[in-house]
């Protein structure tokens, strides 16, 4: 093993630790867990003007590449947090996947076949890089108070706040918070403190992850094998990461002994057979089994759960970290509005409604992938073999092969959405994440719709396709205007096409970039109503 923790952070005593009893410091929001989800959420809240205390029980960024595939949606979120470009610059961009059976290729897919998007379908980037960049970004905000080696050891709920007991190298202290967000991972201790169930399906098959360092000529694609010649009867996955590191996932037998399998001298020959050579070094080896499960409720009083703390999926489909980031973007603006009393508490309930449904979808998709890779009965294996053999000569067989369905943003069937009243031939319906499109500013420089949304403030925003006079929008609502005298240009017509636009068409975007409502000819009254609904002020249908 050559790879060590990339970054160490010092514990620093905080003045809060000198306060006692009822004088404990009180904060609007405390985020627990400085992983990708907790860090991103804290930045988002700080950008919206909130002060955040971010606690982490460690003093370093975890080792091993762990999550490596970050989705287009996650990159668009990180663009809003001011960190997307750094991730993309370091990451390895990919959109093509290939599936092999035995020695031959069955199928090839492109996850982003069309042009005109700022961000690629995926980048591969070691989780420790993502976390290090997010920590750097956090340090640019005086409103984020990141405290390392601060482990939450007690949680005391009250009507209007929560008191946390925190264990540090200097002993215990307490702080109060109006809201606590638990982003403390799959083994969340806060989840245990609120007494929440976390049950689901356990998969018996074991998988071995190895990160190997080598210079290789493989293309930057996701390669997945069923029953490869180098690993008979099982599956294998090869992925490229930055720094000449390659991720290899090998499915093992359910009865394989983890301590034996993990030994480099046992892993090496397997991988040498896979690569056809022995010129590589190990960076990291890990063995895992996984579970698919979620909490019944993501909200327990004033404690909200996000990321792996709230839901866990199998790794096939890159739905772990990416869905956690979607939790963060969904929660940040709602929490901000609740804290500013701009919206009722009810808005927070939509976080559970939207993200628990998304977790169900992610669990369903990744369970199906896992079952396909590791059939649990003779007949399941037989059906799988039939699909693989039919795939050689039929299109339907290719499409049925499930080597991981990769993360795409969920569509929300949401109480915050205003149902369509007008007639639409296409475009994103309410509850869908905004599609990107290329634009040009008046001065001529190229931009993307996702950039324009950020420039408008990443708040409630009206995306308006011009038709004469500009629409009057309610206070606090941003505008992205396309066409007209002063709007962005749509040089390739892709924005218009992707949004099924006619002159006058307008979409109301939520602060997380989801569609709240759309209109052929928006009136101020209809906009006000949609805005009230999207901000949790109207309940029911």
């Amino acid at each position: 093993m050559t790879q060590q923790s990339k970054t160490l952070f010092g514990y620093r005593r905080h003045a809060d630790q000198d306060r006692t009893g009822t004088e404990a410091a009180r904060y609007p929001v405390v985020v627990v867990g400085a992983g990708p989800v907790g860090l991103s959420l804290s930045i988002d809240l700080a950008q919206r003007g909130q002060s955040v205390v971010l606690l982490d029980d460690a003093d370093r960024i975890g080792e091993g590449s762990r999550a490596i595939c970050f989705s287009k949606r996650s990159l668009e979120y990180w663009d809003r947090l001011g960190i997307g470009q750094r991730m993309v610059d370091k990451g390895v961009v990919w959109s093509v996947g290939r599936i092999f059976h035995g020695a031959s290729q069955l199928y090839q897919f492109n996850l982003l076949p069309e042009q005109g998007h700022k961000r690629p379908a995926f980048i591969n980037l070691q989780q420790f890089y993502a976390e290090a960049y997010l920590v750097d970004r956090v340090r640019e905000f005086s409103a984020i108070d990141l405290r390392w080696r601060n482990r939450v050891s007690g949680l005391e709920p009250h009507n209007d706040h929560v008191v946390l007991t925190i264990d540090t190298p200097d002993g215990l202290y307490r702080i109060g918070a109006q809201y606590v967000v638990a982003c403390d991972g799959a083994r969340s201790s806060l989840r245990q403190m609120v007494g929440a169930e976390f049950s689901g399906k356990v998969f018996e098959d074991q998988f071995l992850i190895a990160d190997v360092r080598m210079t290789a000529e493989f293309p930057t694609e996701r390669w997945f094998w069923f029953d490869p010649p180098f690993h008979a009867g099982r599956s294998a996955l090869l992925h490229r990461q930055p720094d000449d590191i390659w991720r290899i996932d090998l499915q093992l037998n359910p009865d394989a002994d983890p301590t034996v399998e993990k030994l480099p001298e046992n892993v090496r020959p397997r991988i040498a057979r896979m690569l056809g050579h022995d010129k590589f070094d190990f960076e990291w080896i890990s063995l895992y089994k996984f579970q698919c499960r979620r909490m019944d409720k993501f909200i327990h009083g004033r404690v909200l759960f996000a990321g792996d703390a709230a839901h866990q999926v199998s790794p096939f489909g890159a739905r772990g970290a990416n869905s956690g980031l979607e939790d963060a973007e969904n929660l940040a603006w709602k929490l901000d509005r609740a804290l500013r009393r701009a919206s009722p508490q009810a808005l927070l309930e939509s976080y559970h409604a939207e993200r628990s449904a998304a977790a169900d979808e992610n669990i369903r998709e990744s369970t199906r992938s896992t079952d396909f890779m590791a059939p649990t009965s003779r007949q399941e294996a037989r059906l799988r073999e039939a699909v693989l053999s039919l795939a050689k000569e039929t299109e339907f067989g290719k499409r049925m092969i499930n080597g991981g369905r990769l993360s795409v943003p969920s569509t929300y069937d949401s109480p915050l959405s205003t149902a369509d009243c007008d007639s639409w031939r296409g475009g994103p319906r309410p509850g869908v994440s905004m599609p990107d499109a290329p634009l040009a500013a008046r001065a001529g420089e190229a931009a993307f719709l996702t950039d324009a949304f950020i420039q408008a403030g990443a708040r409630f925003t009206l995306l308006a396709f011009a038709n004469g006079a500009a629409v009057e929008v309610p206070d606090g609502v941003g505008v992205v205007r396309i066409g007209g005298d002063d709007g962005y240009l749509d040089p390739e017509g892709l924005a218009g096409a992707r949004y099924d636009a006619e002159p006058g068409t307008a979409y109301l975007l939520r602060p997380d970039g989801y569609i709240a409502a759309r209109f052929r000819r928006p009136t101020r009254q209809a906009l006000d109503a949609a805005l009230a609904r999207a901000s949790g002020q109207i309940r029911g249908v």
Partner: protein, 74 residues
């Protein structure tokens, strides 16, 4: 579209025969492999999940009836 259970073949015997003959000379395991592929090919041809689910329900109901009868005879 609902699952059609009226007789759709002009010569039902020919259809039954075609399936039976496909299995002639196969081992149990080979027959099971053939059936698995056949089910997927036909399911895709139908291309309607509701119809497929109705067909699965009908096939399962028949198995359930058979096991209930077996229990009553014991």
């Amino acid at each position: 579209m609902a699952l059609s259970t009226s007789s759709n073949f002009a010569k039902p015997d020919d259809a039954f025969r075609a399936v039976v003959e496909a299995h002639r000379g196969l081992s149990e395991a080979q027959s099971a492999d053939l059936d698995a592929a056949l089910v997927l090919i036909l399911a895709n041809h139908i291309g309607d999940l509701a119809v497929l689910q109705e067909a699965i329900a009908l096939a399962k109901r028949r198995m359930l009836d058979a096991s209930q009868q077996a229990q009553q005879q014991q």
